[in-house]
């Protein structure tokens, strides 16, 4: 089964790291194949940021996203550019603190930024909450795999904080249920 996941937001949210973590979980711990790509350039510094990861049971021939079926969106601009015309059978995880738009496909509204501030006192973990919601909503990688990938990808000393944020993201996805 092939999944193409697009992450979008703005520079500083950890959009690229999010794709790397999910790719690492799939490639190293779920024993699948993964390719991660990103948009480079000035637009990736403070402005819009986009990254993608493809996960497949088979070796990945074409490394670029062709038919994304999962979206993780953390900015309104990212929603307009990548999410607004998502196909109906796609799944979208939205940070509803930032994204006003709503897609035609099924979506999960996650107040990741406010939760990061209120529950953890660290806005920086909002992307990890979103990854938790992504995994909770789609199961695109295993829980154990994503925990291992988060643990080895975050700065030393912040592992527990990030793992709690990951767990909270999974809970928020379960609470949100899919909408509409």
């Amino acid at each position: 089964m092939r999944h193409e996941i697009r992450f979008s937001g703005f520079g500083g949210q950890g959009i690229i790291l999010s794709a790397v973590i999910v790719g690492r979980a799939a490639a190293l711990y779920d024993r699948k194949y993964a390719v991660q790509t990103q948009v480079y350039g000035p637009e990736a510094r403070g402005g819009a940021s986009m990254s993608a990861v493809i996960i497949d049971d088979e070796p990945i021939l074409y490394p670029k996203v062709r038919h994304p079926d999962i979206f993780v969106i953390m900015s309104q601009e990212g929603f307009l550019r990548y999410g607004a015309d998502a196909p109906e059978n796609a799944t979208m995880i939205l940070d509803t603190d930032i994204v006003q738009g709503r897609p035609a496909c099924r979506w999960y509204g996650i107040p990741a930024t406010s939760e990061a501030k209120s529950a953890f006192g660290r806005v920086i973990v909002a992307n990890i909450i979103m990854i938790g919601s992504l995994v909770g909503a789609t199961g695109v990688v295993g829980t154990e795999a994503i925990e291992k990938a988060v643990r080895e990808s975050v700065p030393r000393g912040t592992e527990d904080l990030n793992l709690r944020a990951l767990k909270r993201g999974m809970e928020l996805a379960a609470e949100a249920g899919r909408s509409p």
């Binding site: 190293l28 993964a34 790509t37 021939l61 490394p63 670029k64």
Partner: protein
């Protein structure tokens, strides 16, 4: 034990170099190759190697040439604008038979062009960019795994032939992260040495390559970019000396093209054959997978220079070749010189990879 890893192509390149025993990097950071310099700057001091950031790419390649003459495996990494600056000293490396590895993570040109977008616009520059007649070797990776393996292999080829060897990658392969296997060790060929304590440091062995005597190994060697005799002394007005030297510099590589050639052949009975190298190879793989048509084949070049000019032996029933490249058709032109059937160029500029659908349409158009 080998280790499964999920790393960027540029990091895989640096790791491949370190595994091959590279202990000197001289460079000037340039997008999209910078991660190679960063990683080497971090790792080389830990293995008693040397990293130097030079003032520009002219100094960088000069430092690499100097390091190679101390007997250490040496490399640089750059992109188009940097490669342009290196050109004069690349000729010097060819003339002095200095083994070294140059990594070019290609981006859109001419000039500063598109720093963050992929291209294959330097495929002729690496082969013909410096003045005079000469020959080099160029490899073209299409996966993160190959970034590792081909970088390591580049050092073996450089030592064997005493030539600059180019790893001609691009922004897509350099920057993407992909699952790969980091092996315990890579094959490392011993450095070729002079077979006897000769007074002729540029006298070739049977294969056309002189044994190498780096500085500090007990031999006096004069190294010059001027036309030189077998002693290494300038001899700039004797036509025979120049002809003999330059002919040998070319022949030592070109005479082995069949032996060192590296390519993959898919569906040798095919009527329509894709020819690709580097990133567009990934689009061809996907197109072949989607087409499921045995009359469509693939000639995938891992080594682009020297060019394997016996393509027609490999695909005896081919009616047309389709060459997707991220330039306006460089290698398609080279292929045209060697085949008698139509060569259809599928050029792509701007940095986006060919789409598999576009290649499938090209097959339909060729039939």
């Amino acid at each position: 034990m080998s280790k499964i890893s999920f790393i960027q192509g540029n990091i895989a390149c640096a790791e491949g170099a370190l595994a091959a025993g590279c202990r000197f990097f001289g460079g000037y950071p340039i997008t999209p190759s910078t991660e190679i310099a960063e990683h080497m700057a971090m790792k080389l001091p830990k293995v008693k190697g040397t990293f130097i950031q030079m003032e520009d790419e002219i100094g960088s390649i000069a430092a690499v040439i100097g390091a190679a003459w101390t007997g250490v495996r040496a490399m640089t990494a750059t992109s188009g604008p940097g490669l342009s600056l290196m050109m004069e000293n690349i000729g010097y490396a060819v003339m002095t038979e200095t083994p070294l590895v140059i990594v070019d993570i290609q981006r859109g040109g001419p000039s500063t062009g598109q720093p963050t977008m992929a291209s294959q616009g330097d495929m002729f520059q690496c082969r013909f960019g410096s003045h005079g007649d000469y020959s080099i070797i160029a490899l073209s990776p299409a996966t993160v795994q190959e970034m590792y393996e081909m970088t390591a292999e580049a050092f073996n080829l450089a030592d064997r032939f005493r030539v600059p060897v180019f790893l001609m990658a691009d922004e897509i392969i350099g920057h993407m992260r992909e699952k790969m296997t980091l092996p315990d060790t890579v094959p490392v060929m011993p450095v070729r040495e002079r077979t006897e304590r000769s007074t002729l440091p540029f006298k070739a062995e049977k294969d056309g390559v002189p044994g190498f005597t780096p500085f500090g190994k007990g031999h006096h060697v004069h190294v010059t970019g001027l036309t030189h005799d077998e002693r290494g002394y300038p001899s700039t007005t004797n036509p025979d000396v120049h002809e003999r030297l330059v002919t040998r510099l070319v022949a030592k590589v070109e005479s082995t093209r069949r032996e060192i050639a590296s390519y993959d052949v898919t569906n040798p009975e095919a009527e329509t054959v894709f020819v690709s190298y580097g990133a567009p190879t990934r689009a061809v793989w996907q197109a072949l997978h989607d087409l499921k048509d045995d009359t469509v084949g693939h000639f995938r070049l891992k080594m682009v220079w020297p060019f394997p000019d016996w393509v027609e032996e490999l695909f005896p029933q081919a009616q047309a070749y389709i060459v997707p490249e991220m330039n306006l058709g460089l290698i398609s032109r080279e292929l045209e010189r060697h085949v008698t059937i139509p060569v259809i160029s599928v050029p792509r500029l701007g940095g986006a990879l060919h789409e598999p659908e576009e290649l499938i349409r090209a097959v339909e158009g060729a039939k």
